[in-house]
């Protein structure tokens, strides 16, 4: 029972190779220089990018397989995401953001109350994302990811571009979140404190630059 990735993404002059196995309950941190394909790796898992060659599966369910030409759309993969900047819907209130999609069934349930309390959003529910601070936005994004049932949780540099105070605040929120989370967590991060504090495994994407760039992630 695990997330299995053996795939390759080929782009013009850029080649990304990912071999990865991650178990539920683990927190895998992916590090690597800018442009090494960290976000692309998350996109392939989420289904926002198809891999050029290879296979991605979760607990034996195939998400993406270039040989059998299978591709499961992102909305059917059961993945929660916290992308850079939070990925909030600026046309909706904080509350609407939190209960978006799979989380909608938990509106007015104890699980919703827990999410609001755990990420300290009680006073923000009717606000629009544009009126929030960076740290508040990330907490909204985390609450949304918490509320929606998922087997994989993907986080893309959740504390980059935050000030030191908000960074601590978001890091604490993640810590509590991960402690009770049963699925696979993959955290892309530049922040070594964050990585050492939250991750159970760390993997670095290695890059070799020549005529074209080849990036490899091996876990």
């Amino acid at each position: 029972m695990s997330l299995e990735i053996n795939c390759e993404l080929q782009r013009d002059k850029f080649n990304l190779e990912v071999h990865l196995t991650a178990l539920p309950g683990s927190v895998l941190a992916i590090t690597g220089e800018n442009g090494s394909g960290k976000t692309s790796t998350l996109d392939m898992i989420a289904g926002l990018l198809a891999c050029t060659d290879g296979k991605i599966s979760l607990n034996g369910k195939v998400f993406d397989d270039s040989k059998t030409n299978q591709f499961v759309q992102p909305e059917l993969r059961g993945i929660s995401t916290v992308f850079q900047g939070g990925g909030l819907f600026s046309n909706m209130t904080v509350e609407k953001n939190v209960v978006f999609g799979r989380g909608a069934v938990f509106k007015n349930t104890p699980r919703f109350d827990t999410a609001i309390e755990q990420f300290d959003l009680a006073g923000l529910l009717s606000r629009k994302p544009s009126t929030l601070s960076g740290g508040q936005r990330q907490r909204v994004a985390l609450a949304r990811a918490f509320l929606a049932p998922s087997e994989i949780l993907l986080l893309d540099e959740p504390t980059t571009s935050l000030d030191a105070v908000s960074r601590d605040e978001v890091r604490r929120a993640m810590k509590t979140f991960f402690e009770t989370y049963n699925g696979v967590v993959i955290l892309v991060s530049h922040d070594s404190t964050e990585v050492s504090e939250l991750a159970t495994n760390v993997a670095k994407i290695s890059v070799s630059r020549g005529e074209s760039t080849t990036a490899t992630l091996h876990v």
Partner: protein, 267 residues
């Protein structure tokens, strides 16, 4: 000495005529308008018929631009497809084409002996040219490019990460489009609609060529202004003033939003 960075000398001298050539005619219309009879002028039979007709045709043309232009703009902004630049070039062609040429082209396409029009007449007994439908088509032809261009820019500015997030949380492509994408582009959408409507309302060249100038059927306000002016009637000025007020109203309503919409999708 003014405490600010100096600009090249004499720019105002050259720039002012550019403003004057627009401002002076506007003032002239206001100045020459027969104010005591303004309301009578725009409410007599000819004027009223033209106004109602203009409103109806321009609103229908705008709705058609919304219905057909939105998917096209989304595809242009989000999908790579063959001949995309050719498709886009054709979409904006009416913006640079003289409207009267557009009217001629429409006539040869949908007129009674046109490429498509001949078949429509033969098979279904439908004749488009010189009907109110033709007036709507002419307005759509000329105004839809504005809608498509503004909306393509708007869709292009929508954060792919945010749309991707909606998908991962369980919203299918359609639900994501309706609840997230459309919500994000709403300011641009409103600007695009107003701009498109204003352009449709002012359409003259393509309409008179393809739909003709029949009072009560295809004579929209700009055509009525032209006819009045030709026949020495008194209403041309009053109707012109009314159009001018509508245009100013549009600009005030948008407050430059469409410029920023074109530039960065109004985000």
């Amino acid at each position: 000495m003014k405490r600010s960075l100096s600009a090249p000398r004499g720019l105002w001298m050259v720039a002012l005529p550019a403003v004057a050539i627009v401002v002076v005619p506007v003032i002239a219309v206001f100045w020459r308008t027969d104010w005591p009879n303004f309301l009578t002028s725009i409410s007599n039979d000819t004027s009223r018929t033209a106004l109602v007709l203009s409103l109806r045709t321009s609103i229908i043309a705008t709705i058609l631009a919304l219905i057909f232009g939105t998917p096209l703009a989304w595809l242009l902004a989000n999908r790579a497809f063959k001949f995309k630049s050719v498709v886009r070039a054709f979409c904006v062609l009416p913006m640079v084409l003289p409207p009267v040429v557009g009217g001629v082209a429409l006539l040869y396409a949908f007129g009674r002996r046109g490429l498509v029009g001949a078949r429509l007449d033969e098979w279904f007994g439908i004749q488009l040219a010189f009907t109110q439908t033709a007036a709507v088509l002419a307005q759509f032809f000329v105004a839809a490019p504005f809608f498509i261009l503004v909306m393509e820019a708007a869709f292009d500015q929508v954060d792919r990460r945010v749309v991707g997030t909606a998908r991962t949380f369980g919203a299918g492509p359609w639900r994501t489009f309706v609840t997230v994408t459309l919500g994000l582009v709403r300011p641009s959408l409103l600007a695009a609609l107003v701009l498109t409507w204003a352009r449709a309302l002012g359409e003259f060249g393509a309409t008179i060529t393809f739909a003709g100038n029949t009072a009560g059927r295809t004579q929209t306000v700009p055509l009525a202004v032209y006819s009045q002016l030709e026949s020495g009637g008194d209403d041309a000025l009053a109707l012109s003033l009314l159009m001018m007020l509508v245009s100013l109203g549009v600009l005030i309503a948008l407050r430059g939003k469409w410029v920023s919409a074109l530039r960065r999708g109004g985000q």
